[in-house]
């Protein structure tokens, strides 16, 4: 039996998703698509998604870029700073395969799932804002649902 409090938490969490993003060495294409989500055309906040620049305020981490060596430990640190419940989504081809940067002799270390647990990915070079929003909206509520009960 899901308690009343848990139900309320589920309802609130599905309508107030706090997102932060980190670029671990992309070409900035995906960054611009993430920023386009904030624009009036897609208006991320109408779906209850809020973007923060501080991982301590966030629930969802959007990982962009192909994980350069300088980012390996910092990405882990950043992931640890996010309070539970948390989830990471890989945005674009870079955190999956390294995309154009994954060439012989280049200093990249994809995929991002090597460094932190990635729950979902939005492939594309870059993905559309609609795809990014759809991924966040479909993933975050299911992951955060009944979080306290699942933990016990």
């Amino acid at each position: 039996m899901t308690g009343m409090l848990q139900k309320m938490k589920n309802a609130v969490r599905s309508r107030s998703i706090h997102v932060t993003y980190v670029d671990t060495g992309s070409c900035n294409g995906c960054d611009i698509e993430v920023l386009a989500c904030l624009s009036p055309r897609y208006d991320l906040e109408q779906y209850g998604i809020y973007v923060h620049n501080n991982p301590r305020e966030a629930d969802v981490l959007l990982v962009l870029g192909c994980c350069t060596p300088q980012w390996e430990d910092k990405l882990k640190g950043l992931w640890e700073k996010i309070p539970e419940p948390k989830v990471a989504i890989a945005i674009g081809n870079c955190p999956l395969s390294g995309c154009v940067f994954n060439r012989e002799g280049s200093y990249v270390n994809p995929p991002a799932s090597k460094h932190i647990p990635i729950a979902a990915s939005v492939p594309g070079c870059p993905p559309r804002p609609t795809e990014i929003i759809r991924a966040i909206l479909s993933l975050a509520p299911t992951v955060f649902k009944d979080y306290e009960e699942k933990r016990e």
Binding site: Q46, Y47, N93, L96, S97, C99, V100, S121, P123, G124, C125, R128, T130, E131, I133, R134, L137
Partner: protein, 201 residues
């Protein structure tokens, strides 16, 4: 000051305002029709010509795989950048995404691909390996000699008067067998892809 509070209260009590505030619906999240997503199969038959794989600029994005009796291209998400070139290059319209095929039919555009065979005469030792290995040469002249000389003019390249001559690089299929067998790395195949409009093939 007092007046403005009354103005606000009056405004907030309006039926339309309350309705909008409580029941406003978020617009559904839809991709626009011109969005070019991942290429998907249209159901037409693939002839395994591999034009799609050869035009693809991204390593590991597309492979033409055998599925029982038939061939079908497979797109690997996470690698494919959705450029749509494979759709344009396919002569059989096996793939489609967004409005690529529609636009291509309307504008009458096509991609024509040819190969240039370039030999570096300074490093080539005229061994004839490339001439003998080339599958197109073998078809054109079954009596090709092991040294790469040939009496046939239809071969792509041959050893002639102690030199390697390229005669018909328009026949090259881009298989790069010759590059693989050359002991000195002297022969290079370059793919030249041209966008065309209005040209009927």
């Amino acid at each position: 000051m007092g007046l403005s509070i009354i103005w606000y209260l009056k405004e907030f009590c309006r039926g339309t305002w309350i309705k909008t505030f409580l029941f406003a619906k978020t617009a559904p999240l839809v991709d626009p029709p011109y969005f070019r997503g991942y290429p998907t199969l249209t159901g037409k038959e693939c002839t395994h010509c591999l034009s799609c794989m050869m035009i693809c600029p991204t390593p590991g994005a597309i492979e033409v795989l055998c599925e029982g009796e038939t061939w079908a291209p497979k797109i690997f998400e996470g690698h494919c950048i959705r450029c749509g070139l494979c759709i344009e290059a396919c002569p059989e319209d096996v793939l489609d995404a967004g409005r690529v095929l529609e636009t291509q039919a309307r504008d009458g555009t096509s991609l024509s691909v040819r190969y240039q065979v370039a030999v570096n005469p300074d490093t080539c030792v005229r061994c004839g390996n490339c001439v003998v290995a080339c599958p197109v040469n073998k078809e054109a002249d079954p009596q090709l000699s092991a040294t790469g000389t040939s009496a046939n003019d239809e071969v792509i390249m041959r050893i002639h008067r102690g030199n390697l001559w390229v005669f018909h690089d328009e026949k090259c299929t881009g298989c790069k067998t010759c590059e693989g067998v050359c002991p000195t790395g002297s022969i290079r195949i370059a793919r030249v892809a041209e966008g065309r409009q209005g040209a009927e093939e």
